[in-house]
């Protein structure tokens, strides 16, 4: 090969490793009769097949006339980024589509709302920043509480859950550590909070929590939160001690402790009960530690967007459901919501292009891929969240109810599924995933109010390609569309990326309108 990017490239190696791992895991899953592995791996195989096809096409293109400007690896990296953001957007859309039977044209603008809420808080300074700091602490507490409610309570029965939780925490921590975050990004270190005080409070809180855990108050929310707070304090103290702005021994120790904790959870029954609190604390702490303004703002944006979509559901969609409104009127109303929302944002923030203050960082090179560290953050956050949603749908009561409701609404209702409550959860998940997608997109490149609207068509294409209502399908569809859109730039102008998604959408409708994994929520 002439231009050298094809053989021996890093991505090819990764694909090879993935295939070997895949075969091994599949063999293991068949041997142990683990059901969930099959669906998941089907999706991964699909994505790999797609990559192989694209690789072949690119090879062919190189062998003929076109000399692509960027190599396969670089394109695949771009596709991975696009696909990750699309996936976050598509999972929310497909859940709403499948469960509420609403093809929500305002989904893209909910994403925009999330991005702009984050932007609004990210540019705050002074008193406003302090206030939002207080807000973020409550938001983190809320998120951890939810995690506690959904994940850690299940511990006694589900080792897999623990593993999942630990993996998420560890990967989040590791990604956070790998990324070059200067300490002055931490805006919300409270003044006057000296190191000894932090350590003292931490020890007191954790000790207190351990003691109360043995009393009859063990199940109270406050008690559950105490270890989390103490974990946060501990991590904060560590950060102040180390005064880090990059990977230091202190952090390596912290990660080692977390790894040991995760291992202990799996191995020891006592640890299984207590360590999760520590892990929850660590999650909170990492959030806290890397609380550069964007992360802080993202949490507030999630809270704001979820509040918005839930209020909208109560004011609008709930009434229309009660009235058994037709699909036609729901479509028109959702487009009305989309227009009103986007332009309300534009009235407030103006039509100009904004920046979410992505740090300027040196591009890194790994093999033949050139990327900036924040790319890793984008992919990591997306993959972590997708895994969390998958676990949520598979293993929690609410998640199972959602799948039941999408599968057969009447049967689900008869079986005692509280439809109104489940719908609130659906909106919460869709709203938060859309917000994260919006924030990541706005963090990735300069953005304006059409950010979500432009993502709507590829998102719908991903949802329909995957099969409406199928979360795994949406995931697969999103990565397929993402790769196709980025790879298309080899042959046609980049401005036709939307058209590529459109052509895929049309082809799917012609060939297999039910999508590749149609019909149910996985």
């Amino acid at each position: 090969m002439t231009n050298g990017f094809l053989p021996g490239s890093a991505f090819t190696a990764l694909v090879a490793v993935a295939i070997v791992g895949l075969v091994a895991t599949l063999a293991w899953a068949r041997y142990r009769k683990v059901g969930w592995a099959r669906d998941t791996w089907q999706v991964i195989i699909g994505v790999l097949v797609l990559l192989t096809v694209l690789y072949g096409a690119l090879q062919w293109s190189v062998l003929t006339t076109n000399q692509p400007e960027s190599g396969f690896d670089q394109l695949a990296w771009g596709g991975l980024l696009t696909g990750s953001i699309l996936a976050l957007s598509a999972i929310g859309l497909t859940l709403v589509y499948g469960i509420l039977n609403l093809s929500n044209f305002s989904h893209g603008d909910i994403l925009t709302l999330g991005a702009y809420l984050a932007f609004m808080f990210a540019i705050l300074e002074g008193t406003a920043a302090t206030v939002s700091g207080a807000l973020i602490i409550s938001a983190v507490a809320g998120v951890v509480l939810l995690a506690d409610h959904f994940l850690f309570r299940k511990l006694a029965s589900g080792e897999r859950m623990t593993l999942g939780a630990a993996a998420i925490v560890l990967s989040a921590g590791a990604i956070g550590l790998l990324i070059d975050h200067p300490l002055d990004d931490i805006r919300f270190v409270m003044p006057g909070l000296t190191l000894p005080a932090v350590v003292l409070v931490t020890i007191a809180a954790y000790g207190g929590a351990l003691l109360t855990a043995r009393t009859r108050h063990a199940k109270s929310t406050v008690v559950r939160l105490l270890p989390l707070a103490s974990g946060a304090g501990l991590a904060l103290a560590l950060a102040l001690l180390a005064n880090v702005n990059r990977l230091t021994p202190a952090y390596i120790v912290a990660v080692a402790i977390a790894c040991a904790a995760a291992a202990a959870v799996v191995v020891h029954p006592w640890a299984r009960v207590h360590i999760p609190y520590v892990l929850g604390g660590a999650t909170a702490a990492i959030t806290f530690l890397y609380a550069n303004t964007i992360l802080v703002a993202a949490f507030i944006a999630i809270a704001g967007t979820v509040a918005f979509v839930i209020v909208l559901d109560i004011l609008l969609w709930k009434r229309l459901r009660a009235r058994r409104a037709s699909i036609l009127s729901l479509l028109i109303i959702s487009i009305g919501v989309a227009l009103a929302l986007r332009h309300a944002i534009q009235i407030r923030f103006g039509p100009q292009v904004n920046n979410l203050g992505r740090p300027v960082s040196q591009p890194l090179t790994l093999g033949t891929v050139t990327f900036v560290p924040t790319d890793v953050l984008i992919i990591g956050v997306a993959v972590g969240l997708i895994a969390a949603v998958h676990l949520f749908l598979k293993h929690t009561r609410v998640g199972k109810s959602m799948r039941a409701l999408a599968d057969n609404p009447d049967l689900a209702k008869v079986s005692g599924v509280d439809v109104d409550r489940i719908i609130l959860y659906v909106w919460a998940i869709a709203g938060s995933l859309a917000t994260v997608a919006g924030v990541l997109l706005a963090y990735w490149r300069p953005f304006k109010t059409t950010l979500g609207w432009e993502l709507l068509l590829p998102t719908f294409a991903a949802v329909i390609l995957g099969g409406i209502g199928s979360a795994l399908g949406a995931l697969a569809g999103a990565y397929a569309i993402g790769f196709a859109m980025d790879f298309s730039t080899v042959w046609i102008a980049p401005s036709y990326k939307q058209a590529v998604a459109f052509v895929i959408l049309i082809s799917v409708l012609l060939v297999r309108p039910q999508g590749i994994l149609g019909g149910k929520i996985d």
């Binding site: 609008l316 058994r324 986007r342 009235i347």
Partner: protein, 462 residues
């Protein structure tokens, strides 16, 4: 489960009494004379387009008399159009417009063109129940068709050409290349006719391409595909410069679009330079008179043809498809074909609107066909009453009445207007679109039939 909608009241088929007929004739003659007088007055420089509005109002009144059984609906149309016209006329003079006549003619043209545009959507949504969120694509194709071919037509020449991509040369015999020529005399009219044909063809083919994969599936697939299609058409127009034609040296196509193309009147036919200059001049009274009359004629033709079609058996099948596809299928109707015909015909009507628009504005460029235009048509339809042939006229008059009032009011009543909330917001495009979104939601929730529609025909509740 709801009860069947009540059967529509049987309409009176008695012929109108003789005195009415006489009155109608008198009204027609008077109207014609009135319009002629207005045109003459205007042509000579008397800047008083108010006469035109009055004349059109009288024409509407006459139509009211002619239409007979549907007198009530036309009366609403007349009342609203005259009301909006009077309000805007008063505001135009009160706010000190430098040429109120020209301004009002511009607003009137916009109302007429958007009424045509929304009528296409009315056929698709109001009568067939198709959700088309990409209507602007057809509008753009119509406008580009006539703008590109206004004075030029493609021809095969032996000289090499850079105006078309090389792969298009296969249409020419031998080694000839495809290039643009500027024909003389009646050739200009031929080019224009070709342009109109191409516009219809493009809109029809595009509608068919959208329809084939979606019309057999659930309603929302069409909505999803159309919402992308409008954007795709715009991106193609933006990127493929050769589509906009042009001679070497012109900066045509792409973001620039096409400008300075003549209108399709005598100029295009005769090629007379003096006429051409007049036809390009956007400031002459003649330009506005011509365009108002043209748009009005096109609207009248579209409405007339559609009225006949809707009352025909074909139109009744469309309504049946809208009400219950399964029943129509069970009766042996090929639902897909009826839907496709409705989609394509609606696209043609939108293309006619696009042509009228292209003859009015200049330049035509991709930025004049933003996706939002589709939703102007939607709100016009929903306010006016979808499924009623006159709905788009009412809706268009109200929508532009609101926008223009918001624009003029602060200048007309500087002190009092400052107290009106949201008025400044409504003057900006973002504020207008925000209003459209809110109105769409509110109208669909509280009054889905709009002003003229029938509630039982507006399928909100199953």
């Amino acid at each position: 489960m709801t009860a069947d909608p009540p059967a529509p009241a049987t309409r009176s088929t008695e012929p109108a009494p003789d005195p009415w007929r006489i009155l109608q004739r008198v009204g027609q003659v008077l109207t014609a004379a009135f319009i002629l007088a207005t045109i003459l007055a205007f042509w000579t420089g008397a800047d008083s387009i108010g006469f035109i509005i009055a004349a059109l109002a009288i024409l509407f009144l006459v139509l009211t008399l002619l239409v007979g059984p549907e007198r009530r609906d036309w009366a609403v149309v007349v009342a609203i159009v005259v009301g909006v016209g009077t309000l805007l006329t008063a505001l135009a003079f009160a706010s000190g417009q430098s040429r109120p006549g020209i301004y009002l003619a511009g607003v009137l043209l916009t109302i007429l063109v958007y009424a045509i545009f929304a009528t296409g959507l009315n056929l698709q949504f109001g009568f067939t129940g198709l959700i088309n969120f990409g209507h602007v694509a057809f509008f753009a194709l119509g406008a580009y068709g006539v703008a590109v071919f206004a004075r030029r037509r493609p021809a095969c020449r032996d000289v090499p050409s850079t105006e078309f991509p090389g792969w298009l040369d296969w249409v020419c015999p031998g080694d000839a290349h495809l290039t643009w020529i500027v024909p003389d005399g009646w050739g200009g009219a031929l080019a224009l006719g070709l342009g109109i044909g191409v516009a219809f063809l493009a809109a029809g083919i595009f509608a068919a391409l959208i329809g084939i994969p979606t019309l057999k599936l659930r309603e929302d697939y069409l909505a999803i595909v159309t919402i992308g299609s409008a954007e795709i058409v715009r991106i193609i127009l933006l990127n493929e410069r050769w589509l906009a034609g042009g001679n070497p040296g012109d900066s045509l196509g792409g973001a620039n679009g096409i400008s300075q193309y003549p209108r399709p009147w005598f100029s295009a036919i005769t090629g007379n330079e003096a006429w051409l200059a007049l036809a390009r001049d956007l400031t002459t009274n003649a330009y506005y008179i011509f365009n108002v009359l043209l748009a009005f004629t096109l609207l009248a033709i579209v409405i007339g043809v559609l009225t006949v079609l809707i009352k025909s058996p074909w139109g009744r099948v469309l309504k049946a498809v809208r009400e219950d596809e399964e029943v129509a299928k069970a009766l042996g109707k090929n639902v897909f074909r009826y839907k496709m015909q409705s989609l394509i015909l609606g696209a043609f009507i939108a293309a006619i609107g696009g042509m009228a628009w292209a003859w009015y504005v200049s330049p035509v460029n991709p930025e004049s066909f933003l996706p939002i235009l589709t939703f102007y048509a939607w709100i016009i339809l929903i306010i006016g009453g979808s499924g009623n042939i006159r709905g788009p006229i009412v809706g268009s008059a109200i929508l532009w009445g609101i926008f223009e009032t918001a624009r003029l009011l602060p200048r007309a009543l500087p002190a009092a207007a400052s107290g009106i909330p949201f008025l400044d917001t409504l003057q900006k495009p973002a504020g207008q679109i925000f209003l459209i979104g809110v109105l769409l939601v509110l109208a669909m929730v509280f009054r889905p039939q709009g002003i003229l529609g029938k509630r039982e025909e507006m399928i909100l509740a199953k």
